[in-house]
C-alpha cells in the first residue's frame, strides 16, 4: 500500500489521529506524515474533515431529507450545469448523479420541517429543468459513514484471559 493510501485509510477511520500517532502506526516519520497529508489536501483528494453527528442526541430540531430529482436536459443545459446551481445552496449537503429511476440524489438538511419543505418546493422544484422531486424525510439514523449509532454494548470479554 502506498503511503498516501495508508494515511487515507487511517484518516477515514479517525480524522483526529494526531500526527504523532499516525507516524507511530505507519513506517513514516512525523515530517513525512505532515507532508503526505498536505499533498493529499493539495491534490484535492482530501476535501475536508467533519464530525459524524447523531442529531437525536442534540437537543434541537434537525431535519434531514433524501431527495430524488428528475431533470430534462436540452442543448444548452447539461447535468453539470444543473448540479452546479443546486450545489450552491447551503441546504444541499450531498449531491450525486445516480443511475436508475431518477437522475440526482440530494441530501438536504435544515432546522425544521418547514424550512426543508419550503426549500425543496421553492428553490428546487421550481427550477425549469427539474421535472419531478420525491422527498424522503429521514426518520431514524442507525449508521452514518460507517459509524453505528446504537448504544455501545461495551467490552464483554473477561478482563484477563490466557
Amino acid at each position: 500500500m502506498t503511503d498516501k493510501r495508508e494515511l487515507l485509510d487511517l484518516l477515514l477511520e479517525n480524522a483526529r489521529y494526531s500526527t504523532e500517532d499516525l507516524a507511530r502506526m505507519t513506517d513514516l516519520s512525523e515530517a513525512e506524515v505532515v507532508s503526505t497529508v498536505e499533498t493529499l489536501e493539495d491534490e484535492g483528494i482530501i476535501r475536508g474533515y467533519q464530525a459524524v453527528v447523531d442529531w437525536h442526541r442534540v437537543k434541537e430540531e434537525h431535519i434531514r431529507a433524501e431527495v430524488e430529482l428528475n431533470v430534462t436536459l436540452d442543448r444548452e443545459t447539461s447535468y453539470e450545469d444543473i448540479a452546479e446551481r443546486l450545489a450552491k445552496f447551503p441546504e444541499v449537503k450531498t449531491l450525486q448523479l445516480v443511475s436508475g429511476d431518477y437522475d440526482f440524489h440530494l441530501e438536504v438538511e435544515g432546522d425544521s420541517l418547514q424550512e426543508v419543505s419550503n426549500f425543496i418546493s421553492e428553490k428546487v422544484a421550481r427550477a425549469p429543468e427539474i421535472t419531478q422531486t420525491v422527498t424522503h424525510y429521514v426518520m431514524e439514523t442507525y449508521k452514518d459513514r460507517g459509524i453505528e449509532f446504537e448504544d455501545d454494548h461495551g467490552d464483554d470479554r473477561l478482563s484477563i484471559s490466557p
Binding site: D9, L10, E13, N14, D21, A23, R24, M25, T26, D27, D155, R157, L158, S159, I160, S161, P162
Partner: protein, 378 residues
C-alpha cells in the same frame, strides 16, 4: 471427596489473581485479554444463525462436517502449503484446547516426557500432566527473540523427550519463526525421533512476513500434528472451533478419544466456520491490518518511554521488559495506580519473568489511553 493426584499436580492458573483484582476495579483498560476485540465477521455469524433457523442442531460426524473438512483442506493448502486429505487427515475439535488435550492423551504414555518451550500458553504443561506425562520446560530467551533454538533444546535435555510442543506465532511473546529458523528445530526433532505438536492458532496474524508451518519442512509431516482454528484470525473464540492436521494414524488415534469425550465439535460453530473460510478473507485482512497498526503504535510508545521491547511480529502481543525486573509487582501497581491491566510474564513459565504480556487486541483509542497511563506510571 478423594481427588486424583493428577489434579493435585496442577496448580491453579497464575492469571486468576490478576483477573480477580481487575474485576473489582472500575475504569480499567485491560491489555490482558488473550482474544480479539472484534466480533466474528457478520457473514459467519449469519451462517450460524441461518443454520439454527433451519434447525441444524444435531451432532455432526465425529471428525466434523465433511464440507468443513474440505474447506479446511483447501484453505491450508492454499495458505500454508499444507496438504491434508479431508477424509482421514483432518479432525475438527472444540477449539485448539480440546485438540491439544486429545493429542497429549493420544501420544503420551505414563512417564513420557513432553518438551514444553516457555514462555508459552498456559495449558500445555497441565495438558501433559493430565495425560500422566512429565513436562520438560525448555526456556527461550529474549536474546534469541524468544525463538526455539537447537542449542536450547539440547541444553534442556529435550533429546530424551518423546514429544515437543511448538507454538509460533507465540502467545505470550509475539515471537515468530521463519523457515530457516525452524529448520534446526526440525533437525533436532528428526535426530531424536520427537513427535511435534505445533500450535499454529496465530498463523494468520503475522506482520511483514508469511507464516511457515514446521510440518512443511523435510521429514516433518509424518511426525507433526498441526493445530489451527477459528478463534484468533476469525475472532470466533466463544464459538470454540479448531482443527488438527496429521497423518491418518494420528488422526484416527485422536478421533478415538474425541468420539468418546466430545462426540463432535459444536454444530453451529461448524456452519459459521464454513462461511468464514469461504467468504471472510477480506475481513481477516482488515483485522490483521488494524492489529499491525496498533502493534506499531504500541512498540513506538514503549520505545519512546524507554521500555525495552523486542519487535514481536506475530499474534497480538508485545512482551516488554519491566524496569527493575519484578513483573508481578509492576503489574499489580500499574493496575492499582493507573487502572491498566497487563499480565506478568512469569505466568507463562520460565523465561517470562521480568516481562509483561501486553495485548493490543483492544480498541485503538483505549490502547492510546492505556499507553498514556503506563507512561504516567513510569
Amino acid at each position: 471427596m478423594n481427588l486424583s493426584d493428577r489434579v493435585e499436580r496442577v496448580p491453579p492458573s497464575g492469571i486468576r489473581k490478576f483477573f480477580e483484582l481487575a474485576e473489582e476495579m472500575d475504569d480499567v483498560i485491560s491489555l490482558g485479554v488473550g482474544e480479539p476485540d472484534f466480533s466474528a465477521p457478520w457473514a459467519a455469524r449469519d451462517a450460524a444463525i441461518q443454520s439454527l433457523e433451519r434447525g441444524q442442531t444435531s451432532y455432526t460426524a465425529n471428525r466434523g462436517m465433511r464440507e468443513l473438512r474440505e474447506a479446511i483442506s483447501d484453505h491450508v493448502a492454499e495458505r500454508y502449503a499444507l496438504e491434508y486429505d479431508a477424509d482421514d487427515e483432518i479432525l475438527v475439535t472444540t477449539g485448539v484446547s480440546e485438540g491439544v488435550d486429545v493429542a497429549m492423551r493420544a501420544l503420551v504414555d505414563p512417564g513420557d516426557t513432553v518438551a514444553v518451550p516457555q514462555p508459552s500458553y498456559i495449558s500445555y504443561a497441565p495438558g501433559v500432566i493430565f495425560a500422566d506425562g512429565d513436562p520438560l520446560p525448555v526456556p527461550t530467551r529474549e536474546a534469541d527473540e524468544f525463538k526455539l533454538t537447537y542449542e536450547r533444546l539440547e541444553a534442556s535435555g529435550a533429546a530424551d523427550a518423546d514429544v515437543l510442543i511448538a507454538c509460533y506465532p507465540n502467545n505470550p511473546t509475539g515471537a515468530v519463526m521463519t523457515e530457516s529458523e525452524l529448520e534446526p528445530v526440525a533437525e533436532f526433532a528428526r535426530e531424536h525421533d520427537l513427535t511435534v505438536i505445533s500450535d499454529e492458532i496465530y498463523a494468520d496474524l503475522t506482520y511483514g512476513h508469511d507464516h511457515t508451518s514446521i510440518a512443511t519442512l523435510p521429514g516433518m509431516r509424518e511426525r507433526t500434528i498441526v493445530f489451527n482454528g477459528f478463534s484468533k484470525a476469525y475472532a470466533m473464540t466463544g464459538l470454540r472451533l479448531g482443527y488438527a492436521l496429521a497423518p491418518p494414524e494420528a488422526i484416527a488415534a485422536m478421533n478415538r478419544i474425541h468420539q468418546y469425550s466430545m462426540l463432535s465439535a459444536p454444530t453451529t460453530a461448524q456452519h459459521a466456520a464454513i462461511e468464514a473460510l469461504e467468504s471472510c478473507d477480506d475481513e481477516v485482512e482488515e483485522m490483521v491490518q488494524t492489529y499491525d497498526r496498533r502493534r506499531n503504535l504500541v512498540l513506538s510508545r514503549f520505545e519512546e518511554m524507554g521500555m525495552d521491547c523486542f519487535e514481536a511480529k506475530g499474534a497480538f502481543y508485545v512482551f516488554p521488559e519491566v524496569p527493575g525486573g519484578d513483573a508481578e509487582t509492576f503489574a499489580e501497581e500499574l493496575l492499582q495506580e493507573q487502572g491498566v491491566a497487563v499480565v506478568p510474564g512469569d505466568v507463562f513459565g520460565s523465561g517470562g519473568e521480568g516481562h509483561l504480556r501486553v495485548s493490543y487486541a483492544t480498541g485503538t483509542e483505549d490502547l492510546k489511553e492505556a499507553m498514556d497511563r503506563i507512561e504516567a506510571f513510569l
